[in-house]
């Protein structure tokens, strides 16, 4: 059957029916429906199950505050759990399934929790499940985990796209109700750049639903005209489907735009996360109606009065045929009147107040609606749907009930301004007795970068409760925001509306006032998490007096709605239990986002190929084309090795090492950092940065240097070449370039700013190729163009020249122990040069090698590797590099730190070579064991492995390591531990395993 009422439903387009499925059943609604309204139209009141007791749950609200009606939506790559039906626009082909039940929605085994709910009060799990000890992990927790959670996990990778967008405005206005619109008008007329966003697809908020009269015409008309005016203003942008998700420091706000949620097939990003920087932010976020706490208030069919009204007016739905309204304020009457005027039955308005004489009450009476004053609902009949209510006197215990049959209960507990965005960044609140709610304190706003307040509230979000005052308040907000943003506001007239005289509400936190315990145990505060009045009272009794304690102990307000419906009622019950005023109890902290936002939107465009920048050398494509196995080095990808055919990585590495040692190897060394340091004080500067003396390096020569942090630790190394009298070129480690460049600039700008030195990072200006091996010189001579002989270009020298027609700079340096030239060419010619080397080198056995071969060859030579021999705790002295530490210099970075007692100690572990007795390869990171245990029962150690490889050259395992007094213990055999408890014997040897005299690199 359909619950649609002909001629009603201002948001519906009845000409466009839409078909969708719920739990496999095909249903139909109209364009303009939300999933909630469409389900209700199809008389589907039961929409889910609660979190803890698996109780039947129907929709209770009509907007973002909905705690109950969450569904699994979509399928495959577009599946999404916990979709709130009230904020889900209906589209053709939408598929939804209800959640948190087994086997199905109508019959859920989990409901067993409900029948024993008496035994599962707040925090019961803290008091139980303790024995036997293993049981929590293996028995109880699995049960808890299984019954917890709500929606199903998505299983496939998301195929939609997401993006971010930076917007800068003078005034951001959040909320498209009449307050937001009026504020936008006021701010816009001042000339300020204004962005007005509305989270739903529709403007107008409550006023248009409740038929307010503005400037003598229906709110709807005024709205359409005013929006048109705004549309016509160049300095104003108005957008729907963007939710103000969060307010952050210095005027930063997040806007969550849902672009295709209502039209998934559109070729557009699904969500766009707006990062808005606003001089001023106006939150015109409206208010949320509070439920009332009475026994059975969670039974499907019990709904917020405003929601019942929304469904009727916006979507032409009769939630019930017979609706009992229960209220503590005038607003509830609006629902009763609307229903009655729509021809539906309203058997009674239960008003907790005595003598209600307000205009709205009079109107209701005039329509023949019976008003039960000083009464309360003491019980709700029905299981999966309301069938009636038991009414008793408000000032009682809930006895002597009179039953009224009904299929819907509309409750109105008063209105709470939406203060989330105001509070995110520190805005403070005042308790307003008259309306029993917290409202923003304009005197204590969040503070911006200049200490100025940068958030202003407008309309009911400020606590202005009636149309007339809402408009005035919003106009003032718009003007003062513009002014604060530096725009003189025009004196424009404010739209006028009459305030309806209302009778003061009666804060009634539980119904009836003296309800007995068995009733309080059925009064729901948090519908999703199943937190009841009795739970809060228990928490208070147990000393969880801070509101944060109570929240965490009972889980009140921790559900997906983050307490939008439950917080104030919970606070009130807690305060009452503690016998203190509500402001004394205070609120929990409001944290972003206002409602949950997709992880996809937060990640934005950064996924797949552009998840992170991938730095490529000019030769990158060649590596890829030659089956290189790439390894990340910082953001670079470098070839680890180039497997051929069926080769394993290790076989490939062995081949590359052997070929390089015996013939000719080519390495793409472009990632090596290259920094030009120039100026009269360049030498002096480098003397401070490096542990060695650099100022006395001769132009045309190279020197290996070490850099330490001020804390003494070795941070980088590389070869420095002196280009001319006041110019040096410093090589850094791959990926070290930016760090060291920044390090140099920092010292020059913040410490030695009077020194005349400029630094430029030319790392990417050059492709650099290491030409290595006995045939290295041959291939260069074949290319021709410059003299690369030993005499013309000796070891540790460099020269500019031409090779094979390329402008090159050749460094005669070696990290492998072989005859080696590192050749820099302009990056744009890097690939061509690389190809030329391969072509010319073919006859000499040229073959590319990767980083692993590089590492093995440097280890065979006993060269240290930053990141292997060093780990941030190592000083050069530990590595036997004292030769590279100048004794002549008064000072260099790290010098003083290295003199501290622990660093000067003779008992530091020091670098040695290690050879296993059986020739095997020592495990990575293995520790050398010492006798006994320390005071904490840990096995004593006396060293560790820093680099360990199988040497294809020496056909055995070789390693470097740090060992206590190592250099004095040459030849000694020590034991290295294995994770499996076994040990490996290794001999302490010289770290240089290959060509100790260094003849090969010097030919």
């Amino acid at each position: 059957m359909s619950n649609r009422i002909d001629g009603m439903g201002r948001l519906l387009n009845r000409d466009t029916p839409v078909s969708f499925t719920f739990n496999g059943k095909t249903l139909s609604g109209y364009q303009g429906d939300t999933l909630a309204s469409a389900l209700l139209a199809n008389d589907q009141m039961l929409m889910g199950r609660s979190f803890k007791y698996h109780r039947a749950r129907g929709v209770v609200a009509s907007g973002a505050e909905e705690p109950n009606a969450l569904v699994n939506m979509g399928e495959g790559a577009r599946f999404e759990p916990n979709q709130r039906v009230t904020t889900t626009e209906l589209f053709d082909g939408l598929t939804a399934k209800s959640q948190n039940h087994w086997p199905n929605l109508n019959f859920d085994v989990g409901v067993i929790n409900n029948y024993v709910s008496k035994f599962l009060p707040a925090g019961f799990y803290y008091k139980t499940f303790m024995f036997p000890r293993f049981a929590w992990k293996h028995v109880f927790e699995p049960i808890v985990r299984h019954s917890a959670g709500l929606g199903k996990p998505p299983t496939e990778a998301d195929t939609d796209r997401y993006e971010h967008f930076y917007a800068f405005v003078d005034v951001l206005i959040v909320g498209g109700g009449i307050a937001g619109v009026q504020a936008a008008l006021a701010a816009g007329q001042s000339g300020a750049k204004v962005l007005l966003v509305e989270q739903t697809a529709h403007w107008g908020g409550r006023a248009v639903v409740d038929g307010a009269i503005i400037d003598g015409k229906p709110a709807e008309e005024w709205l359409i005209e005013t929006l048109q005016t705004l549309e016509n203003m160049d300095n104003v942008t108005i957008r729907t489907r963007i939710m103000g998700a969060g307010v952050y420091d210095h005027g930063y706000a997040l806007g969550y735009e849902r672009i295709t949620d209502h039209a998934p097939e559109t070729n557009a990003p699904r969500h766009r996360l707006w990062r808005i920087r606003a001089k001023q932010i106006i939150t015109a976020t409206g208010a949320i109606e509070r439920p009332l706490s009475f026994a059975g208030n969670d039974i499907p069919g019990v709904m917020l009065a405003s929601a019942v009204r929304d469904y009727l007016v916006n979507w032409g739905i009769a939630v019930g045929q017979r609706t009992v309204v229960v209220t503590n304020n005038d607003d509830g009457y609006r629902t009763a009147i609307a229903l009655k005027q729509a021809g539906l039955e309203v058997p009674a308005v239960i008003d907790v107040r005595e003598q209600v004489q307000s205009n709205l009450a009079k109107q209701a009476r005039a329509l023949g609606i019976e008003i039960r004053e000083g009464r309360a609902i003491a019980s709700v009949k029905g299981g999966k749907r309301v069938t009636g209510v038991g009414v008793s006197i408000m000032q009682g215990t809930g006895g002597a009930q009179e039953e009224i049959k009904c299929d819907c209960v509309a409750m109105s507990g008063g209105w709470s301004p939406v203060v989330h965005l105001w509070s995110h960044c520190g805005g403070k609140l005042n308790w307003i007795e008259e309306h029993a709610h917290f409202a923003p304190d304009p005197k204590r706003p969040p503070l911006g970068d200049e200490g100025q307040g940068f958030v202003i509230t407008a309309g009911i979000a400020s606590g202005a409760m009636e149309t007339g005052t809402v408009l005035q308040n919003a106009d003032a907000a718009g003007k003062s925001a513009a002014k604060a943003a530096g725009f003189a506001s025009k004196r424009t007239r404010v739209a006028k509306a009459d305030d309806v005289a209302t009778q003061v509400m009666l804060p009634a936190w539980i119904l009836p006032t003296n309800a007995l315990p068995e009733l309080r145990a059925k009064m729901w505060l948090d519908f999703q998490n199943d937190v009841k009045v009795s739970d809060i009272q228990l928490a208070a009794r147990e000393g969880y007096e801070s509101v944060e304690h109570t929240k965490r102990y009972t889980t009140l307000g921790m559900a997906t709605d983050q307490g939008k419906l439950s917080n104030i009622n919970g606070l009130a019950v807690l305060s009452d239990a503690l016998g203190q005023e509500i402001p004394q109890t205070g609120t929990t902290t409001f944290r972003p986002p206002y409602t949950p936002i997709s992880m996809g939107a937060i990640a934005g465009e950064a996924r797949g190929e552009i998840f992170q920048p991938l730095r490529q050398t000019p030769i990158h494509q060649w590596h890829v084309g030659h089956n290189a196995y790439m390894e990340p080095v910082g953001l670079w990808h470098r070839p680890y090795c180039y497997p051929r055919g069926e080769e394993t990585h290790q076989e490939a590495v062995t081949r590359e090492v052997n070929n390089t040692r015996q013939k000719l190897g080519l390495l793409d060394a472009s990632t090596l950092g290259k920094l030009i340091v120039k100026g009269p004080d360049a030498g002096k500067f480098l003397d401070m940065l490096y542990t060695n003396m650099m100022s006395n390096l001769k132009p045309g020569r190279c020197r290996y240097g070490l850099m330490c942090s001020e804390n003494g630790f070795l941070v980088d190394d590389g070869v420095v070449a002196r280009i001319d009298e006041d110019t040096f070129l410093c090589h850094t480690t791959s990926g070290g370039a930016e760090r060291i460049h920044g390090w140099m600039e920092e010292w020059l700008q913040t410490e030695w700013w009077d020194w005349q030195v400029y630094v430029a990072n030319v790392t990417e200006q050059f492709a650099q190729v290491a030409v290595v091996g006995p045939n290295a010189r041959k291939v260069l001579e074949k290319l021709g163009g410059m003299d690369v002989s030993k005499d013309a270009l000796s070891f540790m020298g460099w020269a500019d020249g031409i090779l094979g027609g390329f402008d090159v700079r050749v460094y005669r340096i070696s990290f492998s122990g072989e005859l080696s030239y590192e050749i820099a060419v302009p990056a744009s010619q890097g690939r061509a040069f690389w190809d030329a080397l391969h072509a010319a080198g073919a006859e000499f056995g040229a073959m590319a090698y990767g980083t692993e071969a590089l590492h093995i060859m440097r280890a065979e030579k006993g060269f240290i590797m930053i990141g292997d021999e060093t780990d941030g705790t190592i000083i050069p002295q530990d590595l036997g590099l004292n030769w590279a530490i100048s004794k002549k210099k008064d000072d260099f970075l790290g010098k003083r730190a290295q003199q501290r007692s622990h660093m000067a100690s003779k008992d530091r572990w020091q670098l040695v070579g290690l050879e296993t007795l059986d020739g095997s390869v020592l495990p990575d990171g293995a520790y050398a064991l010492a006798e006994g245990e320390n005071a904490n029962g840990q096995r004593n150690t006396q060293g560790r492995v820093t680099s360990t490889y199988h040497s294809p050259t020496l056909f055995r395992g070789i390693a470097m390591g740090l060992v206590l007094h190592g250099p004095d213990r040459m030849g000694e055999v020590i034991e290295f531990g294995n994770i499996d408890g076994t040990t490996i014997s290794a001999k302490i040897v010289d770290p240089v395993f290959y060509d100790k005299e260094g003849i090969k690199q010097n030919v």
Binding site: Y248, D249, H250, G251, Y252, R275, R277, G426, L447, G448, D449, E450, G451, E710, N711, G742, E745, E746, Q749, T750, E751, W753, D890, D891, L893, K895, R896, A897, R900
Partner: protein
């Protein structure tokens, strides 16, 4: 998401364009310094609740280091100024004193 005006290029840069460099106006203690001086230079920090003088670099920008005075409780930025100085500008100190009368001063 903080913003600072770079005193060198005038850009009102947001945090993602900046690199935070910690407490400002530390005196470098190098060769010959006492252990205590070295320690305070390397590690000891004011870490105040309130006005904090600190270093920032306009890393994704003009690349210059600058100084800023900022409240660690409200995140208000009182001002930014050159990195080539040993102490904050007098007028900035005055401005802060005016806004925070009970502030004990920058040293």
């Amino acid at each position: 998401m903080l913003i600072f005006e770079c005193p060198y290029c005038g850009v009102k840069a947001e945090e993602t364009e900046l690199h935070a460099g910690g407490e400002a106006h530390l005196t470098r203690h190098g060769a010959g310094a006492s252990d205590d001086d070295l320690k305070s230079y390397l590690f000891m920090r004011k870490n105040p609740k309130g006005v904090h003088f600190e270093r920032w670099q306009h890393a994704n920008g003009c690349g210059k280091w600058f100084h800023a005075a900022r409240c660690t409780m409200t995140l208000e930025v009182f001002g930014t100024y050159s990195a080539q100085t040993f102490e904050p500008p007098a007028e900035l100190v005055k401005k802060i004193k005016k806004k925070r009368p009970d502030w004990e001063g920058w040293t």
